[in-house]
């Protein structure tokens, strides 16, 4: 069995300040982990993914995430928020050795204030 918990439904930051979106996972097998972003009226787009290589993963638009097995976490960060980062962010787990069914978290809405 696998599951994903996004710890915050909403995160509010000011432009130019750091962003932290938290994700914890549960998996009976080794996981692959993904972050997708959904801008208003646009389709879901991949930000970055962890697939058992380097634990620090860099993605598009300055985002990065660190896989921490001991903490079962895959938090998304960005040093400096931009207005265009305002969107819904989803953490996704797919278990290696399982049935490869992707499981999405409930999402975190990132609000960026000028």
């Amino acid at each position: 069995a696998q599951s994903v918990t996004q710890l915050d439904s909403h995160v509010s930051v000011s432009e130019g300040t750091p962003v932290l979106l938290r994700c914890n996972y549960s998996s009976s097998y080794s996981p692959s982990l993904f972050w997708y972003v959904q801008h208003p009226n646009k389709g879901l787009q991949l930000l970055l993914k962890y697939t058992s290589a380097a634990t620090l993963v860099k993605g598009i638009n300055g985002f990065e995430a660190e896989f921490k097995k001991s903490e079962t976490s895959f938090h998304l960060t960005k040093p400096s928020a931009h207005m265009s980062d305002a969107a819904e962010y989803f953490c996704v787990v797919v278990s290696i050795g399982g049935s490869y069914i992707p499981t999405f978290g409930r999402g975190t809405s990132l609000i960026v204030h000028p």
Binding site: V4, Q6, S32, F34, Y36, K42, G43, L44, Q45, L46, K49, T51, F90, V94, S95, I96, S99, Y100, I101, P102, T103, F104, G105, R106, G107
Partner: protein, 115 residues
Amino acid sequence: EAGVAQSPRYKIIEKRQSVAFWCNPISGHATLYWYQQILGQGPKLLIQFQNNGVVDDSQLPKDRFSAERLKGVDSTLKIQPAKLEDSAVYLCASSSDRGHTDTQYFGPGTRLTVL
């Protein structure tokens, strides 16, 4: 490269009516997914195809939902009869393979409202 296409973009129906959604994945992508995204929630996988075979449909309400993928290319998802709780955005996605590392490419979705 063309993205994942879905139609219609919006659909409003009365409860107990039927509705069908169509998806055309990225050319050459073997795996196709249908998700249901209820407002305020993350997408929930309904069915996953590998070519024209079903990999998983454990979360598909089979008493009212059905899906097919003819010739391993485009796919249709049908609801018959619809209930109020089926109001959601239905997302189609595709990936090049079924591996656990594959990136999914999503279509724009179909927003269904059941009155």
